[in-house]
Symmetry: D2
Subunit: 350 residues, 4 copies
């Protein structure tokens, strides 16, 4: 089979490789599409010790479950020969968070596509035994390309569940990347009274409005005040009842506190850089307005399942989110597209 | 009647005054006890434009409802001649938070005991019309002295409700002042698996343990690490599921994030000084552990009612919280006691 | 002015009357539209001691606030000269449920349009002092006719809030009258994965599908099994996660238990006839599937406000719900339309 | 080893048997105590096809984990040689409820102590592979006898969690058997304002009050009105905010609706007999008071863990709940004690 090997920092080579072996309790996928996420791109551009060259990346695969080991226990609804998505967070299933259904906080989780589990920028991909329980069946009408976003979309959905949007709430999304776009759509689908979208980057905001503008009531580019004046003006000074900070930006985190209505819930969706995680925040905003600042990380099995149904139902409206697709042989161009920042979601199609 | 007039910064004089007039829709209390809270003390020590000298302070009064105006609408259960507590937050009753039952966030709230409403360090005190709805009947067996704490206790209870303690949770209280003490008691009464108490001040912690030690499983003095090592050791590195930061300290706010177990809820109960409200907080703790940081401010009418019943049920165990009582004529000593920081709650008994 | 007097059972006469007087703390509306609800119709057909002939009914009025008494305290956003809706449940504002924001459960509530408060099937209508706090401003683009449904729609919304629809849930609505239609729309707007509608009456179901079919995934007529087989077939035997019984039918209440998925929430929205309120229900369905059976009654002030915004946002899609409108002079035809059961919502337009 | 064989209906014989074999992924317990629950008694008195004679019953075992198979994956905190409790509901771990942490609703659950898994009225008991994940470590100071109640206590705790007791609530428990007793204790430990206990059987109520009376504010024997008058009198006609019907009685289920305060939550804890599960219930009580009727079934892994800690913390107060203990050789007397109904919890101690 053909596979894309990362042979060094910023270097990729598509070459012939042996097909993955079938484990007793594992399976093998014929890959139909595999997304590229920010983590893949950062690994490709900067290297990562968990991806020792030559290494095959790719952890958002959709494919056909061509081979299933005799001891593999497939999840409900998954069948040999069917199309599936493989969730990349490999969980132990036995620690307390796993047993309680909070797999996103598994004490021992690993990541598909990183050592020791090669990824899916290839024609075929192994499903190791630990990953079998992560297989999710695809609805018949959902394109494989769109289904590659299940992973980040499920995380965005976790953020929306934590946000707990009520009917009629004014919901503000700070950050117009893919996560912000999807959360805008979901906020609308939770019955938000108004969905507002704001970003510091006009180009990104325009791109977002092209993709999901139909779900957004109003959008504007943030200036030095991080969008504060625009929000207060649009809410008569009252602020927003729900805010998602879908950008790894301290300024947005602080601004969100000032943008919040009394009793507002605010999700800080994105993590900050590991070397610089301390954010200066006005805690009297929290105190006197009785705010809630909430973290959201990864997604649970339940949320993966819901996401699949959601994508299927909104498949027409969400299709524009996949802005670029490249054959495996041109995977280098796919990475370049991400570096240029001109698209939302880029997918590799073997 | 006799009343204590603040005649200047740090100056008080008990003198004869005319009894308060009865308003058509108001009432008049014969004061039995009136607590001194931190705000009273700060006003006395530093002055406050809302307390123009000579001024009668006192906003935690308990007394007998001796006179009731003909147009006063008494709340359910309140009767002329009965003992009552007067909640000090005077709310409009018509703004949206009030209508929705969130009186603590009233858009137009005023404070009893401050201009234009004289307070209750006196033998008699007026209940202005706006305050009538704040009257709460006392249970027969609840001492008036202990009932003066309804106001701050209701706020502490709001914090506990926001904290949402579950059966079996490990609850950590950072700060061993009156609020911390009461929250420790309430955490136990919500079924906490363990109640832990920590303070930077050994003397305060000792005092707290004398008062409410029977409700606390373990307590220790925080050092330079704000108590972090002590907490991790006591939880096998897992952290606490619920944390109340009952101290206006940034270091405690940050430490709480590191002390938190996965999916923990943290209430920042106390506000920070108005001129210095920005707290540097590690937001990756929030993100990767999916924490919730929650504000709690004041208390609702519902919470005032619950507090009265709670104090009554725990009246024996909570009695030690009132460590000092002074007759009106010695109110200056009462303020000195607070300045010295040697007590928990100080009450004036006309 | 002209007004419609119910002069006896099933008899109405439009005649000249004196305009309502302005009370000091009240107001007067120039009526633009007033809905007819089931209660009005039953009163008209059968009589009611609270509507002593000759009596002017009408408790879903929308109009212009032409006159405002000097002591009237208008709610936030309401102004003299503006268009408003008047919520018909007149609450005391002082009992514990009212103070806590649960006005729907007011201990002393009265009903506008019934003795001693004449209704609004007239050119002008009084707003008595107790009703002033029930005024809600209309958004500029919301037609007065559609706004007359705020009252029952807010109740439907209460049911939806109690139902607590989650993203991706399968929601089943039993009963395709106006309430069922609106709840179907709102279930979709809460992110239901599928919205299913079922009624025993094919004609009513067809009418519903014409009005709100765009929000419904599937609908069917219930037979002797009250729709059970149809639901199980459509969910692969799993049942629905959320069910609203929007019909006053015991059979539907019992069937809902069998239609419920594990951990399902079921709202019994409609009350049963007062003389026959006992429903035989299989409690082992409740037990072994851990179901929740939930009551929903009336609506709170908060829910009225949310409803107004919701109607405005969905005004185009919901317009077909008002199937009939009649001038005041033909109000007898309006009642006949309701008797015939051929429409959804009928409105009188003075 | 010695084991108690049920050799026919109402017949038991303690005889020599071979020790259980160790499975690769299983373990073997040296039994220290094993409770008798109502299900065991009914099986013994009436027979059950899942317990083909001669059969060893017993599904509430506590013991020492003497032997552990080489492929057994012990849960966190469990070690060979340690004391453990074995939860009897054997869950698949792979169906959707299991994956989501709702093991009590497992699609494929089996029961330890029934075919094909012999029970623990014996000196040694097998832990089959499917049961290994159900092992819970005992705290050092918790007596093995008391720990046998983990199973039913965890179910009682599930009911209390579903009940969602708030600080200050009046909680009524209908039914004074072991479950009712434990729920009374837990309701107090959730901060109930008042805990009320009621039963139709005076003897059972007296026994309950001896065991847990210190946690109960008031108790009375129900007459023909199922306790209604007594409750209304004790609450000034207001009713109880939280009610657990801890008895399999239709009359109590219906009475609970009349005993409920507005917005009350009611848990129907006990299932009804399978041949007669239909309860006639006044649904207008549900509607006009906006009640919630809630099912509770079994317990989750999380709840088992919490229960163990809870029993340990309350071990002194809960010790009286175990009223009878018998050596294995006198197990026939243990069953007689249950038939006589004179005790709360009976335990077999090999």
């Amino acid at each position: 089979m053909r596979a894309a090997f990362m042979t060094g920092q910023d270097q990729v080579e598509v070459r012939q490789a042996t097909e993955p072996a079938l484990e007793e309790a594992g399976a093998v996928l014929r890959v139909e599409a595999c997304g590229i996420c920010g983590t893949d791109a950062r690994t490709f551009f900067n290297g990562d010790p968990r991806a020792p060259a030559p290494w095959v990346l790719g952890h958002e695969p959709v494919g056909v479950l061509e081979r299933v080991g005799p001891e593999a226990v497939l999840p409900p609804g998954v069948e040999a020969g069917g199309r599936v998505f493989l969730g990349s967070i490999l969980t132990c299933g036995q620690c307390l968070p796993c047993v309680d259904g909070h797999q996103n906080l598994c004490e021992h989780h690993l990541l598909y596509g990183y050592d020791p589990f090669p990824g899916a920028y290839a024609e075929w991909a192994a499903v190791p035994p630990i990953a079998v329980k992560n297989l999710i069946p695809l609805p018949p009408d959902l394109p494989s390309e769109l289904a590659t976003v299940v992973d980040p979309f499920a995380c965005a959905l976790n953020g929306i569940e934590v946000l707990d949007v009520g009917l009629g709430d004014t919901v503000l999304i700070l950050g117009a990347g893919p996560i912000g776009c999807w959360q805008a759509v979901m906020a609308r689908d939770r019955g938000a009274g108004r969905v507002l979208l704001c970003d510091v980057n006009r180009q990104r905001l325009d791109l977002a409005c092209q993709a999901v503008g139909g779900f957004v009531d109003d959008a504007w580019t943030a200036g030095d005040d991080n969008g504060l004046a625009g929000l207060l003006e649009r809410t008569g000074g009252k602020g927003a009842e729900r805010i998602s900070v879908a950008a790894p930006a301290k300024q947005a985190q602080q601004a969100a506190l000032e943008m919040a209505a009394k009793r507002a819930r605010i999700v800080y969706f994105a993590g900050l850089p590991k070397h610089d995680p301390v954010s200066p925040l006005d805690m009297n905003q929290l105190h006197y307005k009785e705010l809630a600042i909430l973290g959201a990380y990864g997604a649970t099995h339940r949320q993966y399942r819901i996401t699949m149904g959601y994508l299927d139902r909104r498949r027409d409206e969400l299709a524009p989110v996949v802005t670029h697709r490249f054959p495996l042989d041109r995977i280098d161009e796919a990475f370049e597209t991400i570096r240029a920042g001109t698209g939302l979601k880029t997918v590799v199609v073997p």
